[in-house]
């Protein structure tokens, strides 16, 4: 799932799904909690987000490609991550010693976050802290953050795809 178009070496594989958020129409979460209390599991805003979060839920491996701003996700990726809360329940569990939401059918996943647009070590450190926090809320069984430049994104993603292809066939 990327916040910009990618030039991928493999586009089609039965177990692979590529989402370019920049070409989707996804509006901001309004915090109505409809997805927990009115139409559980489904967002009441029927734009493109409800086509995306089922993939987030069922994937055992995710690769998110995002620009970094002020040590966090830039707006395109952040908008989608907020709109993914229908895949959690309102109810609370205790997870890794803290209170978090119970997940619906969300596969535990290996997450790789490819982050571009930041060369500041302090900012990179903050971004790592953010992803570590996400890990508790987004069911990451393991996660890795890779910083890269805008020019190197395609290369970085294609390397991951190659590794994934050799390990899964």
């Amino acid at each position: 799932m990327s916040d910009r178009p990618l030039d991928l070496a493999i586009r089609q594989a039965p177990e692979l799904h590529y989402i370019d958020l920049s070409e989707l129409k996804i509006s901001n979460c309004t915090g109505c909690f409809g997805c927990w209390t009115r139409t559980p599991g489904k967002c009441v805003i029927r734009d493109d987000a409800p086509r995306v979060y089922p993939y987030i839920a069922k994937s055992e491996e995710v690769v998110y490609i995002t620009k970094v701003i002020y040590g966090g996700y830039d707006t395109i990726m952040k908008t989608m991550l907020e709109r993914a809360i229908p895949i959690q329940q309102a109810f609370i569990r205790i997870h890794r010693g803290e209170t978090h939401h119970i997940q619906r059918n969300v596969a535990p996943k290996k997450a790789t976050i490819i982050a571009y647009g930041s060369t500041d070590p302090e900012e990179q450190d903050l971004f790592r802290q953010l992803v570590a926090r996400n890990a508790c809320n987004m069911n990451f069984a393991s996660h890795e953050v890779i910083f890269t430049t805008e020019e190197m994104i395609d290369n970085t993603v294609n390397n991951i795809l190659k590794q994934w292809e050799t390990s899964s066939f």
Binding site: C29, G31, T37, R38, G71, D74, I85, Q89, I94
Partner: protein
């Protein structure tokens, strides 16, 4: 101490907990407070208005471990529309979970923005259990700490404060689950329905 500009960064500003927190703050801040909600259309105007204040207080919820995206848009707008005079930035953040420290990353994001853009950093209140605390017997804890925040900002003796319901985690879980079950009932949705494991078909 001067007048303070309170900016609500909650996406559901008019019905938000943040709005209530801002109201409690206003009651406890001796100088004038001006309250506005950040919307899609007023951002450039708000950037200009910032110049008139010695202090600004961002009141907002934690969203996906960070700032609600609308507030992030505002910071980007602010970066390209910097006011002539930069007010000191204080924060009143609340999160749904019990642990106030879950707000730390979001606070650091704002602080990084401030350092990059030359805004002095003021005080911070991180509230845990912020979705429900005002509707609970622990409301007084929220009020007491907001009052403390107001004092810190007024005196310029800046601090970072944390507060939450004084409950063990298992009791918070029980209380939260009751809260949400009732919430669903208002819409005719049962607990069982809310517990569905399915998302879109």
């Amino acid at each position: 101490m001067g007048n303070i500009f309170i900016l609500n960064g909650s996406p559901r500003a008019s019905k938000s907990n943040s709005k209530q927190y801002a109201e409690i703050f206003s009651k406890n801040y001796l100088q004038e407070t001006i309250y506005k909600a950040i919307s899609k259309t007023n951002q450039v105007q708000l950037c200009r208005e910032l110049s008139h204040y010695s202090d600004v207080l961002f009141v907002f919820p934690l969203y996906a471990d960070a700032l609600p995206v609308g507030l992030l848009h505002f910071l980007k707008t602010l970066e390209t529309n910097l006011p002539e005079h930069k007010p000191t930035v204080s924060i009143l953040i609340n999160c749904g979970f019990l642990e106030p420290e879950q707000n730390e990353v979001a606070v650091k994001i704002i602080h990084l923005f401030c350092r990059r853009n030359g805004f002095p950093i003021g005080s911070t209140l991180m509230l845990g259990s912020g979705e429900a605390i005002l509707k609970s017997p622990f409301k007084y804890i929220a009020i007491r700490n907001i009052r403390k925040l107001a004092k810190c900002i007024a005196s310029g003796n800046h601090q970072t404060i944390q507060a939450t319901m004084p409950l063990p985690k298992f009791l918070f879980r029980l209380a939260a689950n009751k809260y949400w079950t009732k919430y669903g009932q208002k819409f005719g949705i049962t607990k069982k329905q809310m517990q569905t494991m399915e998302t879109e078909g």
